[in-house]
């Protein structure tokens, strides 16, 4: 079991080594490049705030995904649920664009969570009642939601005074997440993420629902014999997952962004899948993993400024982390076999 939580660290170390090799091949001094990537970004207060800012949505989405993955439901459309949550939440915020009031932000947040939830229900309902493959449906819906957002910000919701830029009006101050510190972008959304971590820990490890989710993930047959309502559970885990992704979307638009436009998320929904895996689907593991993966985003931005490397390099690191993590599980798999446990217990 100790090894189970230890291999993510091996994966991270291998990724850093791999990154150094790639930088070397590209003709950079690997030590210096890695320093720009992993140390410079967080060596001041502003950088730390940016790290938490990026870790917040990743953590929220990954927490939601852990419910799906633990119960063997492959929701890989969190990016779409994030986008749709942001659309619904943003729509509410735009309704109140010229009003102030303490009730507006809660309304926007709730609307975003419901939006994400509804969008996640589509693959869930199709899976339970039509037996469709949730991987493909949730994935297709990502593009549908992004195109819908694109349509809205170019067309009906575009800012009337915005000179035809593809963006909406600015939200009113009452629709914005309160900032935690003067001059830093870190906002109250981080408390949503922390609340999600605590809640998910409680639900997964202390409630009957959590027990059902884990049993279904380990063996669907056992779950059936135990008389668990499989269909309801699928709907519930997708709703939880969608709500978390929707919250992440709303956190972005009411936090650092303050309006709707095309680029509300640098693929947080997909990257959060890596976070969920790296965190071993464990709520506290996910906190740690979201910080590590957020650093790859931040490092890529810093490296772009100082070394003129495209910021897509962050994805090289994210891909490598997952490759190495999955590969190092092989060791674990056989370790487990030696211990004579059932092999599918640790396979996702």
């Amino acid at each position: 079991m100790a090894l189970y939580f230890f291999t993510p660290f091996i994966a991270i170390i291998l990724t850093i080594l791999g990154g150094g090799i790639i930088f070397y091949i590209l003709g950079f001094n690997p030590i210096e490049a890695l320093k720009f990537y992993f140390i410079t970004p967080i060596s001041n207060l502003y950088g730390l705030s940016e790290l938490l800012l990026k870790a917040t949505p990743l953590c929220l989405i990954a927490i939601g995904l852990s419910f799906c993955f633990k119960s063997n439901n492959w929701n890989i459309g969190a990016e779409g649920q994030l986008t749709f949550g942001a659309i619904v939440g943003g729509g509410v915020a735009l309704l109140f664009y010229n009003q102030e009031g303490f009730y507006i932000l809660p309304l926007v947040i709730i609307a975003g969570a419901i939006g994400g939830m509804i969008f996640a229900l589509i693959p869930a309902i199709l899976k339970t009642y039509f037996n469709t493959n949730e991987i493909l449906v949730s994935l297709m819906l990502v593009y549908v939601s992004k195109l819908l957002l694109d349509y809205l910000v170019v067309g009906p919701w575009s800012n009337p005074e915005g000179f035809n830029f593809p963006e909406t009006r600015q939200f009113s101050d009452s629709s914005r997440m309160p900032l935690l510190f003067e001059g830093l972008r870190i906002h109250a959304g981080i408390f949503l993420a922390l609340a999600a971590v605590m809640l998910s820990w409680f639900v997964l490890y202390k409630t009957y629902l959590g027990f059902q989710i884990k049993v279904s993930g380990l063996s669907l047959k056992t779950a059936k014999y135990a008389g668990f309502k499989g269909k309801t559970m699928i709907l519930v885990v997708f709703m939880i997952s969608g709500a978390c992704a929707g919250l992440a979307g709303v956190g972005e638009i009411t936090g650092p962004i303050g309006q709707l436009h095309r680029m509300i998320s640098p693929d947080y929904g997909f990257t959060a899948i890596i976070v969920a895996f790296l965190g071993r689907l464990n709520p506290f593991g996910i906190i740690f993993a979201s910080l590590v993966v957020a650093l790859t985003y931040l490092g890529a931005e810093t490296a772009q400024i100082f070394l003129q490397i495209p910021k897509y390099t962050g994805q090289v690191f994210q891909g490598m982390i997952l490759f190495f993590l999955l590969a190092s599980d092989y060791l674990l798999f056989f370790k487990v076999k030696i211990l004579n446990l059932k092999k599918n217990e640790l396979r996702y």
């Binding site: 495209p310 897509y312 590969a327």
Partner: protein, 310 residues
């Protein structure tokens, strides 16, 4: 704009050109999936093919090397996926996603020095016939060799799967790896080959984009075509001929929206762009509801890990 007959011919020709990367990638992925492996890395393999093809063209100034090199690069990158899923028994979905994320990042890194370099003109065949015959000219002639290959590929794939022994083996491995293994078939080896073949076709699809369709290198230039190709395989219910039809429909939607914009049609382009994805979901619902229909071609063991006890 008048809809005369020669204009329709040109339109069909351009729809065919835009469907080529979809046909290539989807035909490759189809073979991979028929062997029971779900590789979500199509987008990543395509973009790697696109940059390697373009980079090789710039460096060697030889289009043949560029095309072959792009296929090889697809093979190499899919080898990562093959090694992880087949030898280290990792989860197909997670590994495929990692491959896509990795591929997009790596291609941008490799392509840093190739942004803004103009491409080279790719030779087209029968260009004189294209001009001289109205309507059929632009449809049948004046295309690159890759396009002709792409349009033959679904038929070749169909023949391979249905009429050859190797095709039968691929299907057996996909439908029941355990019994195939008991028959003495090396399941892992067959799946490796199918994964690498899929990688080669995705690499070629990427090279078509960067060498022929829009001859230049742009970051993230595959622009979601890999995901459409994945959708296409499902849309076609794992049948090669339907891949061709589906690719023409999806490619047609892309071209149609350009022309609709041009003539000022009032349907938002985003709705048209969303159509391939929505149609795929509808097809999924229709085939999944009827278990007999999906059983016809769906590889039963798709995405499941095969492990041979030693």
């Amino acid at each position: 704009m008048s809809l005369d007959i020669s204009f329709i011919g040109i339109l069909i020709g351009s729809i065919m050109a835009s469907s080529v990367p979809l046909i290539l990638a989807a035909s490759g992925e189809l073979i991979t999936e028929r062997s029971g492996v779900l590789n979500l890395g199509v987008e990543g393999m395509m973009i790697i093919g696109a940059i390697s093809g373009f980079a090789l063209m710039v460096i060697t100034d030889n289009l043949f090397i560029a095309i072959v090199g792009s296929m090889l690069s697809g093979v190499i990158i899919s080898l990562i996926f093959g090694f992880l899923t087949q030898s280290l028994l990792t989860n197909h979905v997670a590994t495929g996603l990692a491959l896509t994320i990795f591929g997009i990042g790596l291609s941008a890194m490799l392509g840093k020095n190739f942004v803004g370099i103009p491409g080279k003109e790719f030779p087209i065949l029968f260009s004189s016939l294209k001009e001289s015959i109205p309507f059929f000219g632009p449809i049948l002639f004046g295309h690159s060799i890759v396009l002709y290959f792409a349009f033959a590929l679904p038929f070749l794939t169909n023949y391979f799967l249905k009429k050859t022994k190797l095709g039968l083996i691929v299907r057996a491995v996909g439908d029941s790896p355990v019994s195939a293994s008991n028959q003495g078939i090396n399941v892992i080896l067959v799946r490796y080959c199918c994964i690498l073949y899929g990688g080669a076709m995705c690499g070629l699809a990427g090279a078509y984009l960067s060498l022929i369709y829009t001859p230049q290198w742009i970051e993230n230039m595959t622009a979601g075509r890999g995901w459409i190709a994945l959708a296409l395989v499902v849309f076609a219910t794992w049948s090669p001929i339907k891949v061709l039809i589906g690719a023409l429909i999806f490619g047609g939607i892309t071209i149609l929206q350009l022309h609709m914009q041009a003539i000022g049609f009032r349907i938002p382009v985003q709705f048209l762009s969303a159509l391939p994805y929505l149609m795929t979901i509808i097809v999924l619902v229709v085939i999944s509801r009827d278990s007999r229909k999906i059983k016809l071609n769906t590889p039963t063991s798709l995405g499941r890990i095969f492990y041979k006890e030693k």
